[in-house]
């Protein structure tokens, strides 16, 4: 049996009001603003630095020696280097080197849950006593694209280990994957392309629903058996629609729906939601989790919180601490600058 023995989150401090973005494109009147504001990395932050802080939070809650970590996986679609692992930098920074497996995983927005599955498998198979899975993104969106209103920054880290030490047990997990080209970014492109309405029904919804139903059926459970649930959250509407179709209520998903506050953190989104749920869950609460990554696929998990959770919660900042910590970016020019969208040639 495998458990989550530590978790940590990260959301950067800067925020931009989505109205500021809309005004810059002359769309302040007609734009549909999915969220009020979104998180943006500071000039000195990237996926690596954010992953390091989340990993340190996970270590602080686990009280595990960094040297006992046998694997560090970073799931992201915003690697600072196209070639050169982010995970080695994270592993070095937290003191997990050198006897450690490390790699960056990519599967659009589900790279983080993919890392969680691999970490589970490493611990479950006995290949590792502890394995760290991180989902983190400094999400990319083309200036002027509709994605710009939501593409945000943040994510979370989960340290997997023996279930006996767990803050939550892993009951089961499954993946549902097809080749569905709803969203992509080629090697030398700065920003992803997406298939507009194609990203909805045949992509996000089809995969999230099937993976979720598959896991529920295999466990013989219904949504009402769960206290909490979290789904991938590209915007407030999609995540609620998928929850409703499956039969989950607003009360079940509310604490994990971080998108409402900071936007879509891509590979970090469902993991950040899970971290926010662990911030409020009580012993024996059952938690349903389902990610989605374009391309496309979903990873579903079923967790049960343990009594250890409340004892270690205060050892690292809660997701809400990061949400409360905010510093507004005043104008669109400053936003473009900090996002490095202005390129000096």
């Amino acid at each position: 049996m495998v458990g989550i023995v530590g978790y940590g989150a990260y959301v950067p401090r800067p925020r931009i009001d989505t109205l500021t973005i809309a005004s810059a494109w002359g769309r302040s009147v007609d734009a549909r603003l999915p969220v009020r504001e979104k998180s943006v990395p500071s000039a000195d932050e990237d996926t690596v630095t954010m992953a390091i802080e989340a990993a340190r939070g996970a270590l602080a809650r686990s009280r595990v020696a960094p040297s006992s970590i046998r694997a560090v996986w970073v799931g992201t679609e915003s690697k600072p280097y196209a070639v050169k692992p982010s995970s080695t930098i994270v592993a070095e920074a937290i003191g997990a080197v050198p006897w450690v497996s490390a790699a960056d995983l990519e599967f659009a927005c589900k790279a983080g849950s993919e890392a969680m599955q691999v970490a589970c498998a490493y611990v479950g198979s006995g290949m590792a006593s502890h394995a760290l899975a991180i989902g983190m993104d400094a999400a990319q969106s083309k200036p002027g694209d509709h994605l710009e209103f939501t593409a945000a920054a943040g994510g979370a880290a989960f340290l997997f280990g023996p279930a006996g030490d767990g803050l939550a047990h892993v009951e089961a997990s499954c993946s549902y994957v097809t080749d569905t080209p709803d969203f992509f970014r080629r090697q030398h492109m700065h920003y992803p392309e997406h298939g507009h309405r194609f990203t909805g029904e045949p992509s996000y919804f089809a995969h999230s629903l099937r993976a979720s139903r598959g896991l529920l059926e295999s466990l013989g459970r219904r949504p009402s058996d769960y206290r909490w649930a979290v789904f991938h959250q590209p915007n407030p509407k999609f995540t609620r629609k998928v929850a409703t179709e499956l039969g989950f209520t607003e009360a079940q998903i509310a604490p994990g729906t971080v998108v409402d506050h900071i936007g879509n953190t891509y590979s970090g989104a469902s993991l950040l939601g899970l971290a926010a749920i662990l911030d409020v869950a009580r012993a024996d609460d059952r938690i349903f989790f389902c990610s989605y990554g374009s391309g496309a696929g979903s990873d579903a998990f079923s967790f049960v919180a343990t009594s250890r959770l409340e004892a270690v919660r205060a050892e690292a900042p809660a997701v809400s601490d990061y949400l409360k910590r905010r510093h507004p970016i005043e104008d669109y020019g400053a936003y473009l600058r900090v996002s490095r969208a202005i390129r000096m040639l």
């Binding site: 990237d46 930098i89 070095e92 920074a93 003191g95 050892e315 900042p317 990061y322």
Partner: protein
């Protein structure tokens, strides 16, 4: 790109790893080989906890070469909980009213990312304490 140079510095830069003197128990970062107080050799690796207080600071308006993308940025000297003063950048300091003595904590950030073709240097910076009541590790 000076790759070997920064690689050599990863202990202190990424983890705030310094040295401790076995003779007089003074702690150092940057790491030293000989203790200037008691002249002992054989200093051992020592990991600082990262908690500090602000000694003094400056907002840099004329940035150093390679730092234009981060300007204006804030630098300072911080007093580590274990004793030594360290010069470093302050993170998340814009819009914060800084004060001598305010509590800070170490974070690992990009120290330098001059252009899209270059090597990214990561290292310690200090930011205002995120959780005032955060228990010690």
């Amino acid at each position: 790109m000076e790759l070997p140079r920064y690689h050599r510095l990863r202990g202190p830069y990424y983890r705030l790893e310094g040295r401790a003197c076995p003779g007089c128990s003074r702690r150092f970062v940057p790491p030293r080989s000989v203790c200037p107080t008691c002249k002992s050799g054989g200093l051992r690796p020592f990991a600082f906890c990262g908690r500090a207080t602000l000694y003094s600071w400056s907002h840099v308006l004329q940035p150093a070469r390679g730092f234009a993308s981060m300007a204006p940025y804030t630098v300072g000297m911080v007093r580590l909980e274990e004793g030594p003063l360290v010069s470093a950048q302050l993170a998340d300091a814009d819009g914060v009213e800084l004060a001598v003595g305010m509590p800070l904590e170490m974070v690992t950030r990009k120290i330098r990312d001059a252009d899209e073709h270059g090597y990214i240097v990561y290292g310690y910076k200090f930011r205002p304490l995120l959780m005032a009541t955060r228990p010690r590790p």
